[in-house]
Symmetry: C2
Subunit: 342 residues, 2 copies
């Protein structure tokens, strides 16, 4: 049997209450007594049973997820995963609230964060927008003890405790690598379409993509990036126009959302000449079908289920000051071909 609070009490010659005060860093213990207890804890290798502690406290972890309310499939998937976590809440001692805010709106996001200050939850997971007011709002939450995890979109340099998402420069490089290799020695031009160059993720992906594609095949001509605001219809319009202007286009990389528009544009194309090499992000029902139908060649993915579960584990662990298993919380850049659709 592993040591319990009783063993500590005995070893240190104090009562259970004193041990508890030391364990929970509460006042009311003489420095000398505290030292004796801490020594005993270290000596007998005590690790507190969090399950028992939570039972005694009837503790539940109030958590909040703040995500953009856009209707693209990826965010819908993320929302779905949060809902499933809410279903599991009773068994995991969590109480999860989901707050939807307008997409790409730093002001609204900062306000949502500040609204939590009145009754601060234990932890907050937030799809960040890179702006000073968001930085500041996160700082305020942290200052009064709330754990903050950025989700999908990071805010480097802010006070957040952890990021549950992928390295988007690496994701871009991976896309560039696949594009370069799939195109072999071919020459021609490659179209790139993003949601908005104002978003850090998208900038990072473009950077990585351009760098890597240039390394592999410098003769390929990367066209100026198109911006869709992640709107499927805009993607459709922009890509169709591009294709009409240059029917010999060798590759298309959609580093943002709105893949439905891309797929629509490609479907029209199929009948006529051969289609370009196509790489996009996020495995959804649409992109899954497009892979199977040979309309898209590769999908880079971040698993939203993993991201949500990881965020919850990390928020709870940081709140309790216990370590996490790093490897388990690393969100991978998944590459899907039609052959390894999980």
């Amino acid at each position: 049997m592993r040591p319990t609070v009783h063993d500590i009490a005995e070893a240190a010659g104090v009562s259970l209450a004193t041990v508890d005060r030391v364990l929970n860093r509460r006042p009311g213990v003489r420095a000398e007594t505290r030292a004796r207890v801490e020594d005993a804890i270290g000596r007998i290798g005590f690790v507190r049973d969090m399950a028992a502690a939570n039972l005694a406290k009837s503790r539940i972890y109030p958590l909040v997820f703040i995500i953009p309310n856009g209707d693209n499939s990826f965010m819908a998937g993320l929302r779905q995963e949060i809902e499933e976590a809410i279903q599991r809440s009773p068994l995991e001692r969590t109480e999860i609230q989901r707050i939807d805010v307008p997409a790409f709106d730093a002001r609204a996001l900062a306000e949502a964060l500040d609204s939590l200050l009145a009754d601060p939850p234990v932890g907050v997971a937030v799809v960040a927008v890179d702006a000073p007011e968001v930085h500041a709002a996160i700082g305020r939450l942290r200052e009064q003890g709330t754990v903050v995890v950025t989700l999908v979109s990071d805010l480097p340099g802010s006070a957040r405790d952890h990021f549950a998402g992928v390295d988007n420069i690496a994701a871009g490089r991976t896309a560039g690598s696949l594009m370069g290799r799939f195109l072999g020695g071919r020459t021609g031009s490659v179209a790139v379409i993003a949601g908005s160059m104002l978003v850090g993720d998208h900038r990072d992906r473009l950077t990585g993509f351009s760098e890597r594609l240039n390394e592999i095949n410098p003769t390929l001509d990367i066209l100026p990036v198109l911006e869709s605001q992640d709107d499927p219809d805009a993607v459709y319009r922009l890509i169709s126009k591009r294709l009409a202007a240059d029917p010999e286009i060798a590759g298309i990389y959609n580093l943002g959302a709105g893949n439905r528009g891309l797929i629509r544009a490609l479907t029209g194309l199929r009948e006529s000449h051969g289609r370009p090499m196509v790489i996009a992000h996020e495995l959804t029902q649409h992109t899954r079908h497009a892979l199977l139908d040979d309309l898209i060649d590769a999908i880079l993915n971040q698993d939203p289920g993993h991201e949500v579960r990881s965020a919850i584990r990390v928020l709870k662990a940081k709140a309790d000051g216990v370590p996490v298993i790093d490897a388990q919380e690393r969100i991978r850049i998944d590459i899907f071909l039609k052959d390894n659709l999980s």
Copy 2:
């Protein structure tokens, strides 16, 4: 607050002990009383707090991992992950024993499984070898209540409760897909090397690879498969010989272990002519370096850490009869290029 056993007792007009007997399907309750209690449970939507139950029972889950003692890097990694799980045991209420058996030895494996019958653990995770005696031994364990999970290598049709590993046909197809696309329209021959065609995993990978490569580029000539017994030296010899016989070889697929030998053979080659396209399995320190050094083009991987943690979660859940999160327990076929090395 969610309902507790007390609420059930009150609602059904019985005592706590009776509720407990019903919950744990123990005898000593009249059918009529049992029905009343079960009705109450359903009516008030009771879900038992496993943490509290385990606390009361002082329950620990005795688990056993049986793995082959080969010294290839993948198995070493798996072993490492098991050791780390053993470190975490006290916090997870598990007590994990690791048993190493000779690789590819069905007799030894069956004996190891049978040795557990004397004092059966709650759950067993085993890297299976496809043989009738292993089937039978697993059946015996299951019959007296032990949960069995196959790990890495499955045993379809056996009594195992769950498989923690990847679909190796899909893995082979993925390798074929990458090889075909990376080689573009090139012609030539592709060498394939396996550990042993007696192992189900390796047969599956070969099947998938051949099928898919043929679909994509039927002009490529897939050479007869070489067998290395997963021994790096054998891999080195066989591949070197193949390369000497045909210096114009277009691609190499190692679907087994022993990548160190492959890498050595490729290193020698580098100085002379360009090297073939190379795809192999399992991300280890060696293959990681080879990717970074541009000696290998792609690595297909199954995450041993994920497999071990998943096996433990599933064993505990099945032992308690509680559901698992399917998506969380699905082991993905990871594709690694030098760009997305996690």
